[in-house]
Structures are given as C-alpha cells and as structure tokens.
C-alpha cells in the first residue's frame, strides 16, 4: 500500500517523541516553579494571595486543558504576535501543571501536624524560617509520590498540544497515518510509546508511596 515499512513508522514516531519528552520536561519544571510560588501564596498570610490562588486553581482544574491551549494560542495572538505553537503549548501546560502541583503540595503541607507550626513559632522562627526548616522538609517526603504520579498526567497532557499544531508524538501519529493509511498500527505504536514513557513514572510513584506508607507505619 505504501513505501513505509513498520520500521519507518516507528522511526518517525520515535523522532517525534523527543518533542513530547522535551515539552513534558519543560512543562513539569516550569509548572513546579510556578506551582511553588503559588503554594507560598496559598498557605501564606495574605488573604488576597490565598484568594487569588484558590481562584486560579478552580479555573485551571475546572476547565478543559484543550480550552486552555486554545485560549493561550489565540490569546497570545491578540497581542499581534505570530505565536508559534510550541510557545502556546509550553505556556499553557506550565500554567495548568502549576495549578495541579500547588493543590497536591498544599495537601502535603497541611498533612504536617499543626503542632509543628506551633512548636516552631514558639522557638521564635519567622514564617519563611518555619517553612524552610520545619514544614517543607516534612511535607517534601510525603509530596514525592503524588508529584511523580502527576508527571504522568503532564506527559499525557502534551498529546493535546497536537491539536493547536505542535508536532509531537500524537501529531506525528496523525501525519504518519495520513501517509500510510494504517491507523491501527500507527496509533497502536503511538500508544505503546506513551505507555513506555508513562508506565515507569506510574510504577515508581506507586513504589515510592508504598515505601512511604511502610516508613510511616514503623514510626
């Protein structure tokens, strides 16, 4: 039917998968930085800050990622910039990841017992000192498994950027399908590659969580 061998298909997909990986990394790292800033505002003293982050999370968790991608893409376009798809994709995914990571981490910080805050303020520590030396180190241990788990959502989320024209694994899948007319094989491979990217992350999140639970039980 075509001059594409199975290997050709796979090679094209793997090449495109590099962009999926890169976009995932950028989104996850960027999302973590923004999410950390939001976290401080969310658990901080300023009411305005807390309210802002609450609304931010509500909006990003209450609307489809696809819509966020569209709005970023066309919204940036309103400024007269000719927006490359990668920029809109990266920006939208960073903002989206930040919302979820903030929520996850807030739960972890709140799981640190109240007595810890009281004890550390009774020692005369300021807010930032408390966070730096008492709260975050404890929250961090709890935070690792769900954070790793969320990275899977980021990788899967990048698939939607194909819709605004970013050429990554999913887009490549559609392009190769259009050239080969073998959707079953092509999308099968695409799914397989995603699985190979995501499964190790899922698994390590599970293992980390189990370890954490065991450690807790031994306390």
């Amino acid at each position: 039917m075509s001059d594409f061998t199975t290997w050709d298909i796979l090679r094209n997909l793997l090449l495109a998968a590099r962009w999926t990986v890169l976009l995932s990394l950028v989104s996850f790292i960027g999302g973590s930085l923004v999410g950390m800033a939001l976290l401080f505002a969310r658990i901080g003293k300023s009411r305005g800050g807390r309210g802002f982050v609450r609304a931010y999370v509500e909006i990003f968790q209450g609307t489809p990622l696809l819509m966020q991608l569209f709005l970023t893409f066309f919204g940036l376009g309103l400024f007269g910039i000719d927006v490359p798809a990668w920029l809109a994709a990266g920006l939208a995914l960073i903002l989206w990841s930040a919302a979820f990571l903030t929520e996850i981490w807030r739960g972890c910080v709140e799981s640190v017992a109240k007595g810890q805050w009281e004890a550390s303020s009774s020692l005369g520590m300021g807010y930032l000192q408390q966070m730096r030396w008492v709260i975050l180190p404890q929250a961090l241990r709890v935070a690792v498994p769900p954070t790793v788990g969320f990275s899977v959502q980021v990788v899967k989320g990048t698939a939607l950027t194909s819709i605004i024209g970013f050429v990554e694994l999913s887009k490549a899948g559609t392009m190769v399908t259009n050239a080969t007319f073998e959707p079953f094989t092509v999308y099968g491979f695409v799914a397989l590659i995603y699985f190979c990217l995501c499964w190790p992350l899922s698994k390590s999140s599970q293992i980390l969580e189990r370890k954490l639970n065991v450690a807790h039980r031994n306390h």
């Binding site: 209450g62 696809l66 709005l71 400024f79 899967k156 999913s170 699985f195 899922s202």
Partner: protein
C-alpha cells in the same frame, strides 16, 4: 493590543452552542454511569475476583492510565475499523469515555473495597451470604462512600477531558466552539465562552455529585 472584543455572534450561534452542551452532557452522563459501573466490576475483579481475571483487569487499567485519552479515542475511532469494528463518532466517544473512567474508577473503588474491615466480610459469611452477595449488599456501598470525593473528582476530570472528542468530529461543546470560530472568525471569544460554559458545567457536576452522595450514603462510613 488594539483588538475589539465582539460577542455579537452569540446571537446567531447560540443553537449550535446549546447542541454542543447537550452532547457534552450526554457524553458525561453515559460515560459517568457506565464508566462507574465498569469501574465497580473491575474493582471487584481486582480486589476479590479470581486471580486470572484480576491480572487481565490490571493490564487494562495500566494500559489506559498510561496513555492519553486522545490516542485512545483515535485508536477506537480510526484504528478499530481495521479489525472490522466500525462505529459513529458519538459511539466511539462514549466508548472511549466509559473505558477511560472504568480504568481510573477501578483503582479508586478498589482502594475503597480494600479499606473494608475484615469483620464485614466475616459477618456476611456467618449469615450465610455468598461472597458475591456479601460484596454487593455489605461491602460495596460503604466502599463507594469512602472514596466518593475521589470518584467525583475523577468524573469531573473525564467530563473536561471529553473536549478531545471534537477531534473525531463528535459534535460536543468544543466542536461547537471550533465551528463558531471558523464561521465568525472570533476564535478567542468563541473559546472563551466555551471555557466559561465548561467551568459552569464542572461546578454544577461537582455539586450534583455531592448531592448524589448525600442521598446514596445517608450515614458516615464505618471507621
């Protein structure tokens, strides 16, 4: 930025939007009900069923949870016809949502089942109930109650994820927004309105599920 926002098109295109909303709601309803049912069956298989069945279900769950919904959709709609399985956009969209929620629901509900005190199973058994009867009449409701918040969040996530079905031309809310922007050339406004509607749907769905929880589970869960 010298751009004038214009929402005038809303007057012309509201029937398109309404149809899109109805389809998104239909997808969510069917996906939610069948997806949770599938999730319950799978959770039973993994927690209490025969080992071979549990292994098959575990494979299904891992496959779904580690691949994007969009690709599952494409595989069902474009890939399966190669095996002679052909279906319309809406059927494919529904099927993909059920399969997707079934996998996530399975893991959530399984956690609820596994938190059941052993005494509940033993009480059921000592009264002469079979294992299936004990699961159905004794274990299931408190298990669902334990994980209802997590399950509700997952249903909302699946509803929001349904935006992707526009990519196989299922005429949901996102499809409507695409259609409107292609006619009115008001891309940002179209998607903005659609986004607001999604937000309202998400908030409404969350309230609905909370209310449903209150009616299904009149009492606190055990321990």
């Amino acid at each position: 930025m010298n751009y004038a926002f214009d929402f005038g098109w809303l007057f012309d295109y509201w029937p398109v939007l309404v149809k899109g909303i109805l389809i998104t709601v239909e997808l969510t309803l069917v996906g939610g009900i069948l997806g949770v049912s599938l999730g319950i069956a799978c959770a039973w298989a993994r927690a209490l069923g025969p080992r071979w069945l549990g292994a098959i279900v575990a494979t299904y769950v891992e496959l779904i949870r580690n691949t994007p919904f969009l690709i599952q959709l494409f595989f069902i709609f474009f890939g399966l016809p190669a095996l002679g399985v052909r279906m319309g956009e809406l059927e494919a969209a529904n099927l993909a949502m059920v399969i997707n929620l079934g996998a996530y629901g399975c893991e959530i509900i399984r956690a609820g089942i596994q938190a059941t005190p052993r005494g509940q199973f033993e009480a059921g058994a000592s009264l002469g109930m079979s294992r299936i009867q004990t699961f159905w009449y004794v274990v299931l409701v408190p298990a669902l109650q334990r994980i209802w918040p997590a399950l509700s969040s997952q249903i909302v996530i699946v509803m929001l994820g349904s935006a992707a079905v526009s990519q196989i031309a299922a005429e949901d809310l996102t499809f409507a927004a695409n259609f409107i922007q292609s006619r009115s050339f008001r891309a940002f406004e179209s998607y903005f309105v659609a986004t607001l509607i999604y937000l309202a749907l998400a908030i409404g769905l969350r309230q609905l599920l909370r209310g449903l929880g209150w009616t299904i589970f009149p009492r606190r869960a055990a321990r």
